[in-house]
Subunit: 264 residues, 2 copies
């Protein structure tokens, strides 16, 4: 069976998705759980990597489950959760078409980057959001987001050492979602919900930083346009911290965990 | 100076508010930071204790700062944060009236208890919310909450070993706030925002459990009424886990951190 998993993880204490020699990784923990639950190792293919410290609410992956294993597809989740550490959980499992590949079949991904605006750290926000000291202007950020939406060469929004064949990606939408919550004192912040057909290494984190810097006026909009057209990473600000980033969902041509209905 | 602090903490790795021989406590960490920042130890008085694992967004405390220390009251926060561990932060500091006592002067407190409804654990929710397997009915819960609001003897809603002189408390309001969020799959949950003039040991956690059990029909409303009138803890369900509870705010007759204006 080609088994697909919907996986959530708190990336704080994880060394990212991809298996490596040192540190706990999501792929490593999943492969280990598969070995313990089903008695045979299997390579797990994720929709894409996430970095150390990055969270996922709806990562998708698949693996080959030996045909001799008798289990209802929707029960695979519970079987694996028994052997997973508490910061990684399979939320749902399903039988996928034989040619389904969580990476190659992915049509779009949605990431959320969350910041809160404060001069001081907030212990109850710090785990899943990055602190930003400034008070950015929403209208200016929106104007910048409009420029970034669409198909562009996002080379400027990619960390060095990226091995992507092409740096052209389509960003379908960037939603700027202000929020406020009374955390002792009233704290304001913003979610950046970014949906695209694929993302380069560190792309959302560089994008969030550039939007914030444009919002405070530290970075002129023209510098972002210049960076985009010339592929110059050096014109943009620093990469925002991993803790604020969550992979929210991965979209395929069909609803994998809701019965396989074609979604588009 | 009688210095007042607004404090937030992530209770996950803390052994509660009150200083004790073993384990890190909020009071212990604050007193240690005061000693290191100002060179002299001082006893810190909190608005009340919170248990191991319970969070605070707006705990309030006060301590006597020696008159020879020259510091603007609002700068005390930063001075202490330098010496506090990352899971505890002073959000604001102010000079309080000489007769202010964070415990005895407290007029009301607001706690939030958060649950999510799911058969499976969610790593991104588990730190600040408790999982509840059932799907409770909001109208039944509201009916039960109506019975609990007001002045009552809450002996049934108190853990054994409580040393309170009286178990009569006034619950000003219980707000049931449903929420939904797309965490991989759509997850629903509820906040219980409970405001009162004071709370017994474990009172909010027992209350949240009783409301949920009434919501699913596991506990009849009449059992809650009987428990309340007869002071019988044994008629109610189990105490909900500490991780779902957050002390949101403590109210005084004046706005301590907003210039001292009288608030009522």
């Amino acid at each position: 069976m080609n088994a697909a998993l919907l996986v959530s993880y708190d990336g704080t204490a994880l060394s990212g998705w991809q298996i490596q020699k040192k540190g706990r990784t999501v792929q490593g923990e999943l492969e280990s759980a598969i070995g313990r639950a089903f008695g045979a190792a299997s390579r797990v293919t994720g929709s894409g990597r996430t970095d150390a410290g990055v969270h996922a609410a709806g990562q998708v992956c698949n693996f080959a489950l030996a045909d001799e294993i008798q289990i209802a597809p929707e029960r695979i989740a519970d079987a694996l959760n028994t052997f997973l550490p508490p910061d990684i959980r399979v939320l749902a499992s399903a039988r996928a078409p034989e040619d389904f590949d969580a990476c190659r079949s992915a049509k779009k991904k949605t990431y959320r980057y969350t910041v809160y605006f404060s001069r001081r750290e907030h212990p109850l926000l710090a785990r899943y959001a990055a602190r930003f000291g400034g008070q950015p202007d929403l209208a200016r950020m929106r104007e910048c987001a409009d420029r970034l939406e669409g198909e562009h060469d996002f080379a400027a929004f990619s960390a060095a050492g990226s091995s992507a064949k092409t740096t052209v990606r389509t960003v379908h939408s960037i939603d700027l979602v202000p929020w406020a919550d009374e955390i002792g004192e009233m704290v304001c912040g913003m979610h950046f919900d970014v949906c695209g057909n694929g993302f380069l290494y560190n792309m959302v984190r560089i994008m969030a930083g550039a939007l914030l810097d444009v919002g405070t006026g530290k970075l002129p909009l023209s510098a972002v346009e210049e960076a985009l057209s010339a592929g110059r990473r050096d014109l943009l600000g620093k990469t925002m911290p991993a803790c604020g980033l969550t992979l929210r969902s991965v979209g395929y041509r069909f609803d994998l965990f809701g019965g396989g209905k074609i979604t588009e």
